[in-house]
């Protein structure tokens, strides 16, 4: 299935979870926030949340700022 991740079109296996996605990307879940179709997904739900074809996913973290 195809979905949009941080503005890029990407492909993954059907039914991938947030936990799986973060693991594949090598991202430590503790320091990020994940939004799917403009809704924030709580960390406790990462393992049970399944991505769907056409989803828009944003993964953000903290960067330098004033």
């Amino acid at each position: 299935m195809k979905f949009t991740l941080n503005g890029e079109s990407v492909e993954t296996t059907d039914g991938a979870t947030i936990t799986g996605l973060l693991r594949d990307l090598g991202i430590e879940p503790g320091r990020v926030a994940v939004e799917v179709n403009l809704s924030i997904i709580k960390k406790a739900d990462y393992a049970s949340f399944h991505l769907k074809d056409g989803d828009t996913v944003e993964i953000v973290n903290f960067v330098g700022g004033g």
């Binding site: 991740l5 941080n6 926030a33 960390k43 993964i59 953000v60 903290f62 700022g65 004033g66």
Partner: protein
């Protein structure tokens, strides 16, 4: 001397708060933050780099156990965006603190005070500890207090301008009328600017460009540390009144 700044039960060791933007690299950021003696650092919320996963993370250099991380909503021009970034920041972080920015104009980066007030009200109801970046306007500062802000952060001058405290008289009125900590945010260009803000009675000063943009950011961080401490002490000591004519410091009595 027990002179801690407390906001909604959170104790701040330092009255100098520092930003983490515009540094050459994370190592320079780390050194400058350390030299500033600050225990609060501001950060922005941005997309994770998914292409280059080996890129380092700011929090590898700024330990969240050692520093209070204060996320901002920099770059947000609408209430909706500011709310979205605030909620993401809370989920990514560990606290309810948010330095709320709703920007009204690209050239001045002045706050959109209408949007700021609206967003403050909503976020305060959601349990955020809202620290809004505001204009140096006593009326909006008071309205932010009534909307549930935990502190007000009036600008000294436009962000990154280094123009210092352009309207000390408005700040004085804000200090008198708003019953919240007042933290000058933006415009501080050098140590004396920070000292002036503190001498006026402001509770803290937030500096990013004034340090990061200096030729030697680490030395400037230390200068700002001393300036904030000096300004605070001078404020608490109570300055002498200004007057036009001289008063001799040495006794006339006993002169030959």
């Amino acid at each position: 001397m027990d002179d801690k700044l407390i906001i909604r039960g959170i104790e701040f060791r330092s009255r100098l708060w520092v930003g983490t933007g515009k540094y050459k690299d994370f190592e320079e950021t780390r050194k400058a933050v350390e030299a500033s003696g600050s225990d609060v650092v501001t950060v922005a919320v941005r997309r994770v780099n998914i292409i280059d996963r080996k890129s380092e993370n700011l929090l590898d250099y700024i330990d969240p156990k050692k520093y209070k991380i204060l996320p901002n909503t920099a770059g947000c021009y609408t209430v909706e965006d500011a709310l979205r970034y605030s909620r993401l920041a809370r989920e990514a972080g560990i606290s309810d603190l948010i330095k709320l920015e709703v920007i009204g104009d690209e050239k001045t980066l002045f706050p959109d005070t209408w949007g700021l007030l609206k967003a403050t009200e909503i976020l305060a109801k959601e349990g955020f500890i809202v620290l809004p970046y505001s204009n140096d306007d006593p009326i909006i500062a008071k309205r932010l207090e009534n909307a549930g802000a935990a502190a007000v952060m009036p600008l000294g001058a436009p962000i990154g301008s280094g123009l210092g405290i352009r309207n000390p008289y408005n700040l004085k009125i804000i200090l008198e009328t708003v019953n919240l900590p007042i933290i000058v945010d933006a415009g501080v260009g050098t140590a004396s600017d920070a000292a002036i803000a503190m001498e006026l009675g402001c509770d803290a000063v937030l500096i990013n460009t004034g340090i990061a943009g200096a030729k030697d950011p680490i030395a400037m961080a230390e200068a700002m540390k001393h300036a904030v401490i000096a300004g605070r002490l001078a404020y608490k000591a109570g300055r002498i009144p200004k007057k036009l004519y001289a008063t001799a410091s040495s006794l006339i009595e006993g002169m030959l």
